[in-house]
Symmetry: C3
Subunit: 138 residues, 3 copies
């Protein structure tokens, strides 16, 4: 069994953004040399997500608006978590979008349907943030 | 390490439906010959889900009504994604329900609690749709 | 390839509670002897979750309040599932929070960011409940 680990780092400039990281994850897979196995990709922060969906800007606007409806950022005082922090909404948004994606590896490729792309979802941005890629297989 | 891959295909007739696919996934496991390992089952479409819950028709009605409240199909014009398409709600519903399930394999069986069943959740139906089953182990 | 399986049991006293199970999951990992691999941790009940977030009591209050807004417990009659049961809301809350977490194992440790902790989320408590830990790797 082979195993491979890499952290992908991102410079986050906005409070919320969705970044297509499919190419970086594929590069990890090539580097790993794994042909058959499983790939785990997860946010290492608890106010961020890794998820799989469509790379379409209209949809990303819809997700932003929808998450703000389900778990609004403001007023900050609505959340018990927001004493010294103001990011309770980001913890909830990350919960909706999910922490991780597990992807099949077949014949050395991410075994995806035609529209599947991997995104890093940042909900409490500012500074350097990271994603873990772990691969096991042969 | 053994690995196994299969696509399960479904003919979808309604916009939204929940299909119990546990028996097909178990058949994959038997075919794989894997006794100890992990099984990944994921939708290959980004407007569909694979999730684990109870096979109870009342609950499935509740899920339909609940998802329509969280991410209504209509009016289509409420979503930026709905220019040439009308399925933005399906992308959001899939997000709530999840893309994938990862299941333990123990002694050649899906290692489930008493009520766990695997479902394919279709939210933008019509035509042939598919689910990926990937198994690794020994 | 090594594999390891253990059920963790919890005595649940309230209808809803969030229990930090990170130490028990780490103990499983030590017992397994696996140094590189993947760990699956999932609820074996369909009205409960395993998820990763922050161990902060204000946030846990926010999650309780938020889930009650997204999928209220009462009135019980609002759900078709609630004929002989009263736990439809718990099935929906579990859906939001997720069934499982998959965690990378690196150098014999849970490969976590600084604030990641594993929780068991109970939404229909009372009695003994269990979580499955499955580890594969080397």
């Amino acid at each position: 069994m082979k195993s491979y680990r890499k952290e992908l780092w991102f410079e986050s400039r906005q409070r919320r953004e969705l970044i297509n990281i499919t190419a970086q994850v594929e590069a990890c897979l090539q580097e790993s040399g794994v042909r058959e196995g499983l790939l785990l990709c997860n946010a290492m922060h608890i106010t961020a997500s890794v998820f799989i969906n469509d790379d379409e800007s209209g949809l990303h606007q819809d997700i932003e608006k929808w998450l703000e409806r389900l778990a609004p950022e403001k007023p900050y005082s609505q959340y018990a978590h927001n004493g010294f922090e103001d990011n309770a909404d980001a913890h909830l948004k990350r919960t909706v979008m999910g922490r991780e994606a597990v992807v099949a590896i077949t014949a050395g490729r991410l075994d995806f349907g035609p529209w599947e792309k991997i995104f890093y979802g940042e909900f409490d941005g500012g500074g350097r943030k990271r994603v873990l890629v772990k691969i096991i297989g042969e």
